[in-house]
């Protein structure tokens, strides 16, 4: 795997938009270079009823940033007495990551959200020092991101129903990480709609 710090633990995450629904998916591998240590390491974290973030990169930073962001969002909810909105979440994340501008965390992030009243969907892609993209249709991060992007662009259609969205997301993810030896070993897909969140575990090749 070379000595690239972002490939040390491996892992990949993907987010895609549909019509009043968003999907976020990640693989479940935790490994150290070649060796797979565990197959239950998901990289998606919940920060609000319709706000999810996925982190990919160095596993220790995935856990640390997830916990530090949770700390900030918990305080926000206590002070403001209301739940988070996706744009607040991504602003907090940008701030958290930019604080470490000259000694950054080794993670890339995906922020997704849904407004339950209007059905407006949000998918944002962040680099490791907090540069957030615009609200995009499709975003991937991780070691297999290039392979998944190709498939994602092909399978994406505007205004997909939740079932079509699930199919497109799972197929891009599963076939994309077949080409990467640092991700895989199972996948989990969250499909977030206005009134419910469906979490499905995919059986993938265990190689």
């Amino acid at each position: 795997m070379g000595d690239d710090i972002m490939n040390y633990n491996g892992g990949v995450a993907l987010a895609m938009k549909g019509k009043e629904c968003v999907a976020i998916a990640c693989d479940k591998r935790y490994g150290v270079q070649n060796r797979t240590i565990a197959t239950n390491f998901t990289k998606i974290f919940e920060y609000g009823p319709h706000c999810y973030v996925a982190f990919c990169g160095l596993a220790t930073d995935v856990q640390t940033v997830a916990e530090r962001l949770k700390f900030r969002t918990n305080l926000y909810e206590l002070r403001e007495q209301r739940k988070l909105k996706p744009n607040v979440l991504y602003n907090m994340l940008t701030n958290l990551l930019y604080e470490k501008r000259f000694g950054p965390y080794f993670i890339f992030a995906l922020v997704i959200g849904l407004d339950p009243k209007t059905g407006e969907t949000f998918v944002y892609d962040s680099d490791n020092i907090g540069a957030i993209s615009d609200n995009v249709n499709l975003a991937t991060v991780g070691t297999a991101s290039e392979y998944i992007f190709g498939l994602g662009e092909l399978l994406f259609k505007p205004d997909m129903t939740p079932d079509e969205l699930f199919e497109a997301t799972s197929q891009s993810l599963l076939n994309g990480f077949d080409r990467d030896s640092a991700s895989g070993w199972g996948a989990v897909v969250y499909v977030i709609e206005k009134d419910k969140v469906t979490i499905r575990e995919l059986k993938a090749r265990q190689d």
């Binding site: 070379g2 270079q33 070649n34 797979t36 197959t39 030896s181 199972g186 190689d207």
Partner: protein, 242 residues
């Protein structure tokens, strides 16, 4: 400071290293994934003797760093009708070695007017690896059947060693299954038992090693010839997910 190996400057090695670097043009042609890491058959390879022949097995992944270049590689390369070699290490080096040894054995069998012995084939492979031991990264297993000694497995690892073993493992994935094989191999197994053991071992290695994956390719070599079996991903035996 290591007194036995003092740091030295070797002009020739410096020149060789410089020559082996990619040219400026290659940087534009070769995709980013393949530029820095050479293509290697990450790999798990196994060969096992049973009463009457040998069983060979390998995974099917070739990787360049973490990019999977080929998901269905054939690492079981024929050297003659009844002798196969299993390749691990640098894909280029092992392909070159097998091609040269194939030629050498064909010539030899024409000279001797009989199929070459497995020991001779293994020696040809070993000689090449030893001669270029500083340059090659090749760990190969030569296994086959001949009239004189029946089924044999010879291991030719990195430095140019040659040793006959009843079971031989190789490749990065083999580290995960030494214990499994130590526990489950017994001499004089039947062909079916050997096939099951090899398949299970490869599956276990594929599950743990990032550089091994894809499907499992098996071969059985005996007096009658070679039987190739490809076991696809969904047909691999179930392994408990720890």
């Amino acid at each position: 400071m290591d007194v036995c190996n003092p740091p030295t400057y070797d002009a020739e090695e410096e020149l060789l290293r410089h020559q082996k670097q990619y040219s400026q043009m290659d940087k534009l042609l070769i995709p980013a994934e393949m530029r820095h890491q050479p293509v290697s058959t990450g790999t798990t390879i196994i060969a096992m003797e049973y009463d009457g022949g040998v069983v060979l097995g390998a995974d099917t992944r070739t990787s360049a760093g973490s990019f999977v270049v080929n998901r269905f590689t054939d690492k079981l390369t024929p050297l003659t009708d009844r002798i196969y070699c299993l390749r691990s290490g640098s894909a280029a080096d092992t392909q070159a070695i097998s091609q040269v040894v194939q030629y050498q054995l064909e010539f030899l069998s024409a000279e001797m007017n009989e199929p070459p012995l497995v020991k001779i084939a293994a020696n040809c492979v070993r000689r090449m690896i030893y001669q270029y031991r500083d340059d090659f990264v090749a760990g190969m297993i030569v296994a086959g059947w001949d009239k004189k000694l029946g089924g044999q497995v010879y291991s030719c690892p990195l430095g140019g060693l040659l040793v006959r073993q009843p079971v031989s493992l190789g490749g990065s994935g083999s580290t995960y299954i030494w214990g499994f094989l130590d526990n489950n191999y017994k001499p004089n197994m039947t062909k079916k038992e050997c096939l099951e053991l090899v398949l299970k071992a490869i599956t276990l290695a594929i599950t743990r090693d990032g550089s091994s994956g894809g499907c499992a390719r098996l071969a059985v070599i005996d007096a009658q010839g070679v039987e190739r079996i490809d076991v696809l991903g969904n047909e691999l035996p179930k392994v408990y997910d720890l």
